[in-house]
């Protein structure tokens, strides 16, 4: 038998396995690479940066004072027409008189025969006249912004004409460039109402040349003649119920909301780190006492105490109420971070590298500052990111129930509160701030998820 020739030969190691092919990554470099790979987290990071830019640099570009009222454009939705017609100065109207007609007693009143508009219906005045009703003692004029049919809801009673000889009414009450549904009914001596006469009136927005010049729409009053059409100020996101620019208010409101939402959690997480690391490091009896106190603070009903503290710190009327709210948040918010940090420190102090460091003669301060806190940094950062949405929510809650930022300082929460009241007619006043709160909270939540996945292997979510 021939000697078997081995077809094997030992593998020669060509490469030098000891060579470090890539530079070793620090923890933070690794985390950044992981974060960059996470599209959702990255998008939310850009969103957060965008929101910060919106509030920090926005007011530099959009230089409208959030407190200035544009009384020509109240509760205007975004994209509404800005045309305004120039008219002559207002002249009083004498009205229309007619001889009152005697009625047959016991008969119910008929509805006024005709309801007509005298002259042009403008935002300055709508002049109505109608035919006299036999037996009428007085007339009542109603106005509605919705069609009264089919419910027969006549709307706001805007005036009583007590003299039956007068068959006209001039409406100058807070007119907007809308279509109004006017109804006039006749009343007999006992106050019984007749059927209505109806008129649908499309009101045009007007301004006098002098007013236009005063508002800066034109250079001088002589630049415009009656009949010219001018453009009112631009409000990209519309105006609120007091005619204030929504975009400017959202930008300034973001300052309040984001300031509280970011600074307050940052402050209480710092307090928590301090408290937690002291407790974790001292361990034993002191730790127990400190943590028992933290448990007590956690047990306090959060919102009730926020309200109480706000009253407690907000001594001056006319304060905007931002700092009282922050102090209250810090006083109540720290225990969660303290617990977390303490848990981490307790875990880390048993690690080998701490022992090694101690063996090399490291002092306590050095151990805490150089080894323990940096190693809990990931968890802390994640906590911080998740604390931001809850702080923004808290601010919004408090402002919403009227216990937060005091008017006229805008905040997203207080803007929602104001917008809620006119939700049916002008929903944009609620939608814009509510959407911004939602987007901000969403961005911070997703960023928090991403950071958790990137920074903390143990807390990595299974998504």
């Amino acid at each position: 038998m021939a000697a078997a020739t081995l077809s094997f030969e030992p593998v020669r190691i060509e490469r030098d396995v000891e060579t470090v092919a890539r530079p070793s990554l620090s923890y933070w470099q690794d985390a950044w690479i992981r974060l960059k790979a996470n599209t959702r987290a990255l998008i939310s990071l850009y969103l957060v940066i965008g929101l910060l830019a919106f509030t920090l640099f926005g007011p530099l570009i959009w230089r409208v004072d959030p407190a200035v009222q544009d009384l020509d454009q109240i509760s205007v939705p975004p994209g509404a027409g800005r045309d305004v017609t120039v008219v002559n100065a207002y002249t009083p109207w004498q009205g229309v008189t007619a001889t009152p007609l005697p009625g047959e007693p016991g008969r119910t009143l008929a509805a006024p025969a005709v309801l007509a508009v005298v002259g042009e219906p403008t935002t300055r005045a709508v002049r109505l006249r109608w035919e006299p009703v036999p037996g009428a003692a007085s007339y009542r004029v109603f106005r509605n912004i919705f069609d009264p049919e089919p419910d027969g809801a006549l709307g706001l009673p805007i005036g009583d004409v007590l003299n039956p000889a007068n068959v006209s009414f001039e409406d100058r009450l807070d007119l907007k460039p809308l279509t109004y549904y006017y109804s006039v009914v006749a009343l007999d001596g006992s106050g019984a109402q007749s059927d209505r006469a109806a008129a649908t009136v499309a009101v045009t927005r007007v301004i006098t040349a002098a007013e236009a010049a005063q508002k800066g729409l034109i250079e001088q009053a002589s630049d415009a003649r009656p009949g010219d059409v001018l453009q009112l100020q631009v409000h990209p996101l519309g105006t609120d119920y007091l005619g204030r620019d929504m975009l400017a208010r959202l930008m300034h409101g973001a300052r309040v909301s984001l300031f509280i939402g970011i600074i307050a959690p940052f402050a209480y997480v710092m307090v928590g780190i301090l408290y937690g690391s002291v407790a974790g490091f001292m361990a034993g009896r002191a730790d127990q006492i400190l943590m028992r106190f933290a448990d007590f603070v956690v047990a306090l009903p959060f919102l009730l105490f926020m309200i109480l503290f706000r009253i407690l710190f907000n001594v001056q009327p006319g304060d905007d109420g931002i700092y009282p709210m922050m102090v209250a948040m810090i006083l109540l918010g720290w225990p969660a971070a303290a617990r977390l940090v303490r848990g981490q420190i307790l875990q880390i102090r048993e690690e080998g590298y701490i022992g090694a460091s101690r063996l090399l003669g490291a002092k306590t301060n050095y151990l805490v500052l150089r080894h323990m806190i940096p190693n809990t940094m990931g968890v802390i950062l994640v906590t911080l990111t998740f604390a931001v949405p809850s702080a923004i929510f808290t601010e919004a809650f408090l402002s919403f129930i009227g216990m937060g930022v005091a008017p006229p300082t805008p905040s997203w929460g207080s803007m929602c509160n104001e917008g809620l009241k006119t939700m049916l007619t002008t929903p944009h006043e609620l939608i814009a701030p509510a959407a911004l709160i939602s987007v901000t909270v969403l961005a911070f939540n997703l960023l928090g998820d991403g950071l958790r996945d990137a920074l903390d292997a143990r807390m990595r979510s299974t998504e």
Binding site: A299, L308, F309, A396, F400, I401, L420, S438, L442, N445
Partner: protein
């Protein structure tokens, strides 16, 4: 078990005492007092009133009187509502708040567990994607926005039906309770769904599930007995804190839906510095939360035999 329960209950009582003390001193630190009002009051009348309500005594003595009265279940009389006992006020309004909160938490827990389990079972398929999207929405939208839109949709619904199926606001009947408790539970439900989903995902392919499948157990039985039971545990742990979150949201929902709960009452009492009402409300709320958390912890020990309570 018994020892643990007793120990936790004692801790709970101490916590409630701490809450009462903190509230008492924080409240008295606010400048002014409930007797300060718009009406001009002569010093004699004021002194009389102070003596009547015991406000002329040193703070520590007031504290002691309050504490002993509270221990015997007497929260005193309201300062701003003449001769009305705080116990009555609380009995009337807390019932409403608690009903609303409990309905909301029940809804949130059942919904969260159900949707969480569904998303995990259908991972990365249409139901999962849709529900996860809704969950993110639910976590990010503040409850007052839900409340506003909830109310708006009720209006539209009634309009469309032509009669009032569900009342828009108020309190009293079961119909009144549905929408507010759904709205109130929504945020918590989203949070619980997320939690349930991740805990379920860990279990869907666990060894014991594979064994059960290999034994030939039907899928529904595996789901019920093996997956759901194990995945539910983390959800139960956070139920306690969730109750706190729900009571917080309750303030807003009560405001929007005009529900006569304690929330609005409390805000009013704080503004008028009605000491006894503030104290009663805070202590009761605090006690409610503390003992809810304890109850959840004890239930947790019963549900999961691996957890040793001591």
């Amino acid at each position: 078990m018994l020892r643990y329960t007793v120990k936790r209950l004692i801790q709970g009582v101490v916590t409630v005492w701490f809450i009462a003390t903190a509230t008492f001193f924080a409240m008295h630190a606010v400048p002014g007092d409930p007797l300060t009002s718009d009406k001009a009051v002569s010093p004699e009348i004021r002194a009389n009133l102070e003596a009547r309500y015991g406000l002329d005594r040193p703070l520590v003595e007031q504290y002691w009187i309050y504490l002993t009265n509270m221990a015997s279940g007497d929260f005193g009389i309201s300062f701003t509502q003449q001769n009305r006992e705080v116990n009555d006020i609380i009995a009337e309004h807390f019932k409403v708040s608690a009903t609303l909160g409990i309905l909301a938490i029940v809804f949130a827990a059942f919904g969260g567990i159900l949707w969480g389990a569904v998303t995990a079972l259908y991972r990365n398929r249409a139901p999962d994607i849709v529900i996860v999207f809704l969950v993110i929405l639910g976590i990010s939208v503040p409850s007052f926005v839900f409340a506003a839109f909830g109310q708006l949709s009720v209006v539209k619904l009634n309009d469309w039906l032509g009669f009032t199926l569900v009342p828009v606001a108020g309190w009293g009947t079961v119909q009144h309770m549905i929408v507010p408790s759904l709205v109130l539970g929504l945020g918590t439900m989203a949070f619980l769904t997320r939690l349930m989903r991740s805990s379920m995902l860990e279990i869907v392919n666990a060894d014991f599930v594979r064994t059960a499948r290999a034994k030939g157990l039907p899928a529904t039985r595996i789901f019920r007995k093996h997956q759901l039971r194990n995945a539910i545990l983390p959800v139960i742990t956070v139920l306690g804190p969730s109750i706190a979150a729900i009571t917080t949201g309750g303030f807003v929902v009560e405001l929007v839906f005009a529900i006569p709960g304690l929330g609005r009452y409390f805000v009013q009492a704080v503004q008028q510095l009605d000491y006894t009402v503030i104290m009663g409300t805070t202590v009761l709320y605090g006690a409610f939360l503390v003992f809810m958390v304890i109850a959840v912890d004890i239930v947790y020990g019963l549900v999961d035999p691996r957890v040793r309570l001591d």
